[in-house]
Symmetry: C2
Subunit: 396 residues, 2 copies
Amino acid sequence: MINQHYLEMLGHKSVIRELSEYATARGKEIGYENVFDYSLGNPSVPAPESFTAGAIDLLQTEEPVKLHGYSPSLGLPGVKQTIADSCNRRFGMEYTANHIFPTAGCAGAIAHAVRAVTEPGDEVIIFAPFFPEYLPYLQDAGVKVVIIPASFADFQINFEAFEELLSDKTAAVLINSPNNPSGVVYSEETLRRLSDLLRQRSEEYGHHIFLISDEPYREIAFDGQVVPYPAKFYEDTLTCYSFSKSLSVPGERIGYVAVNPAAENAEKIVPICGQISRGIGHNCPSSLIQLAMAKAIDDTADLSVYETNMNLLYDTFQELGFTVQRPGGTFYIMPKALEEDAVAFCRKALDYDLVFVPCDGFHAPGYFRVAYCIDTEKVRRSLSAIRRFVQEAYGR
Amino acid sequence: MINQHYLEMLGHKSVIRELSEYATARGKEIGYENVFDYSLGNPSVPAPESFTAGAIDLLQTEEPVKLHGYSPSLGLPGVKQTIADSCNRRFGMEYTANHIFPTAGCAGAIAHAVRAVTEPGDEVIIFAPFFPEYLPYLQDAGVKVVIIPASFADFQINFEAFEELLSDKTAAVLINSPNNPSGVVYSEETLRRLSDLLRQRSEEYGHHIFLISDEPYREIAFDGQVVPYPAKFYEDTLTCYSFSKSLSVPGERIGYVAVNPAAENAEKIVPICGQISRGIGHNCPSSLIQLAMAKAIDDTADLSVYETNMNLLYDTFQELGFTVQRPGGTFYIMPKALEEDAVAFCRKALDYDLVFVPCDGFHAPGYFRVAYCIDTEKVRRSLSAIRRFVQEAYGR
């Protein structure tokens, strides 16, 4: 008989998925170029040439038995070293290859990180607004999810609620900066306060609370700023990274867990990830993709389009009187809807072929997400549709 | 704090891994060409040109945003159709794309198949001898593993023990033909008897017992035979396949689950696999690898070397008076050791730089596995070492 729990999950259709399907269907009616599809967080710029040329070079010159052979269960040593070196150079860390565990993107990274530092029944804290897939990632690992309500003023951390909900059952805290859906970057001040609190509570409870830092948008930062690196602030940090956005290769499923060498039991966590892999059938990411990624380690796709798009949208939302935080990174912006019910707001926007996502599922009710990983030309064309929508539906 | 269960798993080192490490270390002393390393099941022939050329062509001609984009969570539709068509052509099945779920090799396939058709606490039956990694695959899914002792006469199924241990708690039965470690192929007669029994018990217990068929060695078949396809015999079959061996690309992590269209709830199982993926962080295999595999779907690497090697070894073991089944496929052979303790036997073989694996972990104590996925030239050289070892250590 088929598994009833997963069967029930099938019933709950993702709002993002539904809206994206609507956009595709509408595109067939009026031409997809006329649908302002802001629903999906899919990179829209090509992978850097170093990745493509690197992969072709590997296929043309490497001995196939070696190139396509089994990766050691903890990842290809040379690739791990390349990742460690890059992080050390960029963030002043002291990783060795033994602190790096290559994974199938951030999903794979989080699946391993959570299982490595929790026992079933432990509590893991997440902060609204958050990527809704965090819930299955965490629940499947058998932990209890504790949600800290958003700090609506700035989408930094709501420390009042956080201090209250931290407890001796807290095994780990999961953060995401730059943030999906708000685009907000945690400031150094936020990270320092977070770290101080975690250190203090770890001591009080007599066990280390781990910080799991989900950073797929780290390289998409605006105004020339560098996103503060959480592991620099807190010892017990597992950094989860994906090259999906930086290299524009989300379908290739490549990322890693990086274990802060200063963490408790730092030397054991990567081998433990290897054990976790045995049970969930993950194994390593593709050898070819690991090696091609290493050849492009410090490159990125041309990410500047996202900043251009953000500025166009932010200025327009501001001008129209929306309550909205200026994103520090990502390809998302999350304004407050012009009525209490963001679902109703987004439904009305569809009449103008504007596909926005209500943020109820992200635990930011009343807000909507705009994923601006689309051509700038289309963003420009959408601005008059936004103006028309706001004027006709809300008299602004 | 780190997870204690996985930490304990770290303590149990794999015998195969240890022997393989010994072989590598010994190779540094005397030259690896002089170590007859029969420890690891790593393909030794290059991937077919269609795979390599296909991957290069994709990289050179496809639009990168599309090529490297997110795969739909249930896999790339065209790739799924290609797999379905190939299985239909070859095995007379009636799969559609909706019955195919691309996975990261057989490990990923089994992880999904088991979770899809069991509830935690259910029993899953496996047959000795079996690949030891089945235990973590199954235990991590929360099921209870029931082991049917081997039928030592022929390494088909021990039906007497099987009939006794099947119960109303049995949710699924996992088979592996051609078999790692014995090389034995389940006959049509075995599959018919298995199917009849499962049908009868399913009716008796009032629930469908699923058959999970792990078939990574399906394409390595000897004497021109075609390996009987279990799903042709039993409706409720989930076929788990990997291209690791047929295409010689084990590091690329590409395989699938194929759901028999005649199975109970056949249309729901692939969507359920998609839900399972969300929790274990699996997602789809690499898009590039999915597409390159599809271009090589009906090709294989030149697998004839394995048959040549098998014949050399089988004849030698026969000649030396070993009890041994002639493999019908795979790149393994599993003779009975010349003393009761196969570990002691394998230890003595090391003095002749022969690296065999004792089969205690495969639940065939007293036997040893010879993985002959190495150059034929080396196999030939090893034969005199085997003869010397057997004569000097056992007087034969």
